[in-house]
């Protein structure tokens, strides 16, 4: 009996004590943002968080480090969301996810976002609106760019390539010359060839610029099986082990960037974030490179895939009001400017593209404005909520061609059948830029 009494007492203590702890915590709330850590993303997010905490005593903002590869991040988020976890209040979500994840997020129009949305690019706001609800605020936008070494092009008297053929030719020539001059690790072109979402972006750029369409068109037709698409995928497969290292089929953004920044590549396909990093003092690329739109294929026009990330507030947050307020601050003018200047993350607020400080830090924001506003979107809206499966089937098919496991025609024919199976759509003619 006495033992039981002791047990009960202990239990009472535990419960009472935890009550006290909880009561204490209520004075200061903690908000967690699951944010990217590619390049300077995390550092600048933390800087912004510190600013917010200074102005809002009683709010503690934590930045949760998430994986670099978008697919891994998606997996992590799904685990939080399946568990309806309140551990994360704000999620940084990819531009392709709103359709799939909408049910887990709050409608930000209920929290005063109406007043700010007009400042942002309308296309992205549209993208983030699901059934009339604004489920995420645009944070930064992205488009694929061609990075090139100005010093080397000048040295060998070459122009910035306008077509894929030119790129191939220039890359091969300068690569051979540089190697002969002693840099044996030099390559012509690095890009994202690993089997993940990044390859979908890269391959979409090749195909769309070559007149091969957008995999699935906006009016829900599967358009991937055409000669133009097969031709350019074959051409890209020819780069592997030639102007690009054989290991490019295992590279993500950061792998390509590290090779580029070591001075071992003439061209790189990457997002704008690599601009500020490449110019950091002491790096061989500092001051020796510039960016241009990606080369064009047979269609005659260049295509950069639309990327970018948005801030969504979890439905399972314990402090939705405060979280929404924080999200508005993070996506607001001040923070976007800070991140544009320090980390060359493209703002989604139109007026910032005319801001002097921003243009000084990243002149190409002004000169390549059209690239950002005309970027080609992945077929996430047309295929929602199955986009992730569609993209996976696509990048696996392209990857099998790049590694030589399959020929382009068979891979694309099977991809077409797979996509019909997954989406239930009919086939159609590719959309032209």
């Amino acid at each position: 009996m006495r033992k039981n009494l002791l047990l009960v007492l202990a239990l009472v203590f535990i419960i009472a004590f935890s009550g006290v702890v909880m009561a204490q915590e209520e004075d200061e709330i903690t908000l967690t943002i699951a944010a990217g850590a590619v390049g300077q993303e995390k550092a600048t997010a933390e800087e912004a968080a510190a600013m917010y905490m200074e102005r809002n005593p009683g709010v503690n903002v934590e930045i949760l480090d998430t994986p670099d590869l978008a697919n891994d991040r998606y997996g992590l988020y799904l685990q939080f969301l399946e568990a309806e976890s309140s551990k994360v209040d704000i999620y940084q979500i990819d531009v392709i996810w709103p359709g799939e994840l909408a049910e887990h997020f709050l409608d930000l129009y209920d929290y005063g976002a109406k007043e700010v949305v007009d400042k942002h690019f309308q296309a992205i706001v549209q993208n983030n609106t699901v059934d009339g609800k604004l489920i995420a605020l645009p944070w930064f936008t992205d488009a694929g760019l061609l990075y090139y070494r100005t010093d080397l092009l000048e040295k060998y008297d070459r122009e910035v390539p306008k077509t894929w053929d030119e790129l191939e030719e220039t890359a091969r020539y300068i690569m051979e010359e540089e190697r002969a001059a002693g840099n044996e690790d030099f390559y012509g072109y690095v890009w994202q060839g690993n089997a993940y979402e990044g390859l979908t972006c890269d391959a979409l750029e090749w195909i769309y610029s070559n007149g091969g369409g957008k995999i699935v068109s906006d009016d829900k037709k599967i358009t991937i099986n055409n000669d133009k698409a097969i031709e350019i995928i074959d051409q890209a497969a020819g780069w592997v082990g030639g102007i690009s290292p054989a290991g490019v089929t295992g590279m993500g953004e950061e792998d390509a960037r590290s090779m580029w920044e070591a001075g071992n590549a003439l061209f790189m396909r990457n997002w704008p974030y690599a601009y500020a990093l490449g110019n950091e003092e002491g790096k061989p690329t500092a001051g020796n490179f510039d960016v241009s739109p990606l080369p064009a294929g047979d269609s005659g026009s260049s295509a950069g895939t639309l990327g970018g990330w948005n801030l969504a507030v979890s439905k399972y947050s314990e402090h939705p009001e405060e979280a929404a307020k924080l999200a508005m601050f993070m996506a607001g003018e001040e923070v976007q400017k800070l991140r544009a200047v320090e980390a060359t993350l493209n703002p989604t607020i139109k007026s910032l593209y005319e801001d002097e400080d921003v243009l000084e830090a990243a002149p190409f924001f002004g000169s390549l404005y059209d690239v950002f506003t005309n970027a080609v979107a992945r077929p996430s809206t047309a295929t929602a909520p199955k986009y992730n499966q569609v993209s996976e089937q696509f990048f696996q098919a392209v990857h099998s061609v790049l590694t030589g496991e399959s020929d382009a025609r068979s891979a694309i024919e099977y991809l077409e059948l797979d996509l019909m199976d997954t989406t239930g759509f009919e086939t159609g003619e590719p959309t032209q830029p």
């Binding site: 697919n71 993940y196 054989a246 290991g247 295992g250 068979s410 059948l417």
Partner: protein, 356 residues
Amino acid sequence: MAISSSSNLAKEEQKLAFKLLLPAFLILIIIALYPLGQVFYTSFTNREFASSTKTEFVGLDNYQALLSFTVKELDPIIDQETGEQAVDEETGEKQFQRPIRVLPRDPHLYRPAFEFSFFGNKYVVGARTPDFIRSVWNTLVFTFFSVFFETLLGLIVALVVNSEFKGRGAMRAVMLVPWAVITVVSARMWEWMFEPTRAGLFNMLGDRFGLIDGSYSFLSSANLQLPAIIAVDVWKTTPFMALLILAGLQLIPNELYEAAEVDGASKFRQFFNITLPLLKPSLAVALIFRTLDALRVFDVFQVMLSQKRYSMASFNYFQLISARKMGMASAIGVIIFIIIFAFAILYMKSLGVDTE
């Protein structure tokens, strides 16, 4: 009287034993049986992960999608001019129709898993989920080779550290370092060593000694992926194997060797007639441990190959969190469970492990 009191005592003891076992049993139900049952149940549904989509009961559909396969003959391509089978001009190989022409598409799409030749005819094995079939194959190959090398090397290491020499204690501790490193960390480490340029250790060494040209992509070319992964696992798990075998070695009484010495048995003979037979029970335990462990390999595959090549467990993971097919992923889980279970039984039977 005496008898009844003793049986009363036995009953009391049984009751007590039951009471004492009850908590453990309850915990087992909560943490093992309930989740397992849940997985079995989910595998018969089309549940979507992290979604409010309505879940429906689909019977054996998931299992059918995973396991259905078909074998079709590929017809030779006949050259119109000569009337004989066409031959590829570059490779000199006889040409056959592509699998996409012969594999069924309705009501389900079958994709080629692999092709094989038999008496001059060529066949293709088509499956509805060829990635799964391949992942099973990858896992079996991985298990066979990694366990084989780990046992062999582990035995050698154990024999070495079991012999008397100076600094044996330190040696035994050092030996365990690879085992102590977290798998994800060691996988990342190896990933750097496998870098496809000369920044990677292996490419640098190969290039330095003129063996390879310094641009081998170990982790993205199909022929090198499995050997690379097996190497990582062997490096990591050999110490564990050595430890288990070492424990077995220390159970063998020294007198046996002394007696053998007196009888003039060579070291070689001693090993095969004394060491190996007496080591069999611990070797069997070690083998079971490692095989079952290797069959559910996940971390090395996930970190180093991610979606480039799957093991059963990493395929399961990507079905769940990338394709969000929770029902399908559960079905894969059940199949993995059955495969591992079959292996466990097979081992116990063939190695004569005493289960009592």
